[in-house]
Amino acid sequence: MVTMAVQIAREPDGMPLRTKLTRVERRRKLRAFILVLPLLLFILIGFALPIGRMMFNAIHDDTLLTLMPRTTAALSAWDGKDLPDESTYAALAEDLKQAWAQRSMGAIAKRINYELPGLGSQITSSARKASTLSAGPYKPTLIEINPVWGRQDVWSLLKRGSLAYTPYYLLRSVDYQYGPSGQIVASPPETAIFQDMFLRTLAISIGVTALTLLLGFPVAYLLATLPAKYSNLLMIMVVLPFWTSLLVRTVAWVVLLQQHGVINEMLMALHMISQPAQLIFNRIGTMVAMTHIQLPFTLLPIYSVMKTIPPIHIRAARSLGAGPFYAFWKVYFPQTLPGIAAGCLLTFILCLGYYITPAMVGGPNDQMVGSFIAHYTNEELNWGMASALGAILLTATLLLYYVFNKLVGVDRIKMG
């Protein structure tokens, strides 16, 4: 502040102080922005744009529009009450013939099968038969070829296909779907899994974050206060897991937790239990393994921030008469908050995306949303669903981050 004032006072020209201050401030902001710019551009071009393009799949689906152009056009006038008229069926026959000839029937059948599971092969086989039709009337013939073409739900699905955008994937990601006549209804309970899965993902992530904080904070404090001679050796124990593959660590937990694993055998040898306890393939296994993997992520940011806190602060508080706990709680702890916030943020976000570890040591009730995203991406090849689930997860994470920021985040904790 003093320097600035001196500099400003020394300037000979007659610019008002306010203008100068604004200008200095602006220059400072610009300099700060330039520091951020390389990473910003890198993330924008190399991440945000590609991801945006991929996530677009969550709402954009023009399969029916481009592959069945005549039918979708003819359906725009359909009121959705009775079955469409003969001219629409003629358009359908034409589209089926073309799709059959161009080998695009697979894509159409797959799209219809998403919403009406089990109809895919019937749609394909009806197209094979329809490809030989030459004259109308098409309506009775097509219904006779395959009764699916007399179904209200099939037609209302095709009508929705006349738009290139669909909320279907997002709806399904929160357990809603279209009813037979196109109204939005809740999915039946035997297939409604996603709301539970999101809540479970959230619960496991919060639990693991809390556990890592509980276990990590005391160790971070010890490491930050011990002389380097000791703390550096202990630090090796904290960073060693980074050299050990996630796969190996997961296998290691199998060795420890399985029925005749190290822990069970030890407890039984000590006569603490008489039967092996079920420690793996359930929530215990998931939480233990995830907490172990995430612990360094919570611990190290806390440690880094603790290292920047001058030990004089707490000594000053003690010498002014504060008790040890009071001094710790009122002077030291608040200064560690940025580290706690950063560590917990990292762990929480990373937990949301887990899928390999809970799959290998968790139970049937521990599937997290990440596993279904992987399933849709690589097994079902349903990128619409994968993107929709991913987009919801991303949005939820951003929202939580925003709330977190308002409550305890960087903007709140201002010191120095």
């Binding site: 320097t3 600035m4 902001k29 700060a32 520091l35 951020v36 710019l37 390389p38 990473l39 910003l40 890198f42 993330i43 190399g46 991440f47 945000a48 590609p50 991801i51 393009r53 991929m54 276990l215 160790v219 011990l226 002389p227 124990m237 904290v238 060693l240 980074f242 050299w243 050990t244 593959s245 796969l247 190996v248 660590r249 296998v251 060795v255 612990l295 360094p296 190290l300 940011p301 880094s304 290292k307 920047t308 040890p324 580290g339 950063a342 943020l345 976000i349 949301l352 995306g353 990440g370 994968a386 991913g390 997860l393 991303l394 994470t397 981050y401 925003y402 960087v410 201002k414 120095g416």
Partner: protein
């Protein structure tokens, strides 16, 4: 360092309780590593004690199959490059973001850390198309950049955290005393944020070193990394070779970290610095 003599019994109790908790947590951290290393000498491909016999076959596989050597080299090369690149980019960004009154900080921050919020399977597919467009598929540079995207958020978050308590009057004082900005950074700012940078760098290294999905999508077999090799064949079996590989890496890192620590102590002794 023992509890000071003038403390109350409760305080002494807390002191030892704290030590006890820390010992338990540290044990929890390394227990899996301790139990898994002996199994790398198991003669059968199962992860169960007691072992029916001892054998070096998994080490033989690790040291004599060229794929593991190439993978080790690639992993270290890629991870080190990623660490340097992301630590630089992330620290610069964190410095900028931590300036007082930075506009839209929260929004920018969430954009910059968003790569760890998107499930990596989706990122991998999305990035595949991008890297295909720019011609970086199946190259080291492509893999390094892809990993850097995933690794930089860690640096941004940890360095920002250490900068939150940062006293900006220190840099102003240095500047006021005539130090150019670069000197201010290296002499004043850097020593203060170094713990955060090191943590961030460690996370960045770990992210790249243990990443398998992007390595599978963006890179080809020529850039195969350790995790890619470890996950290969996982449909059929989990081979104990991965434990042999892990054991070798652990020994290597213990040796390296201990050497660094010994060197540090030596230089400290030479410079006559005494830690209190």
């Amino acid at each position: 360092m023992a509890a000071s003599t003038y403390t109350s019994p409760i305080e002494t109790g807390w002191y030892y309780l704290h030590r006890l908790i820390c010992a338990a947590v540290l044990l929890f951290l390394i227990a899996p590593i301790l139990v898994i290393i002996p199994l790398s000498f198991n003669s059968v491909p199962f992860f169960t004690y007691p072992m029916p016999g001892l054998s070096l076959r998994w080490y033989q596989e690790f040291f004599f199959a060229s794929q593991w050597r190439v993978a080790l080299y690639n992993s270290i090369f890629v991870a080190v490059s990623v660490t340097l690149l992301s630590t630089t980019l992330g620290t610069l960004a964190a410095l900028g973001l931590s300036r007082p009154n930075f506009p839209w900080r929260a929004a920018l921050m969430s954009l910059l850390i968003s790569p760890i919020m998107v499930p990596v399977v989706i990122t991998a597919v999305a990035m595949y198309f991008f890297y295909a467009d720019v011609g970086l598929l199946n190259t080291y540079l492509g893999l390094i950049l892809a990993h850097t995207t995933m690794a930089t958020p860690f640096v941004v978050i940890t360095v920002t955290a250490t900068l939150t308590g940062f006293d900006h009057s220190l840099t102003r004082a240095a500047a006021g005393l005539g130090a150019p900005p670069v000197t201010v950074f290296f002499k004043v700012t850097l020593p203060l944020i170094l713990p955060g940078m090191i943590s961030g760098a460690l996370f960045a290294f770990g992210t790249s070193f243990d990443e398998v999905v992007l390595a599978l999508f963006i890179a080809s077999v020529d850039q195969r990394t350790l995790p890619r090799t470890m996950f290969s064949g996982i449909r059929e079996e989990i081979r104990p070779t991965i434990i042999a590989a892990a054991s070798v890496l652990i020994l290597f890192s213990i040796a390296m970290l201990t050497t660094v620590e010994l060197l540090r102590r030596r230089s400290e002794r030479l410079r006559g610095i005494r830690n209190t």
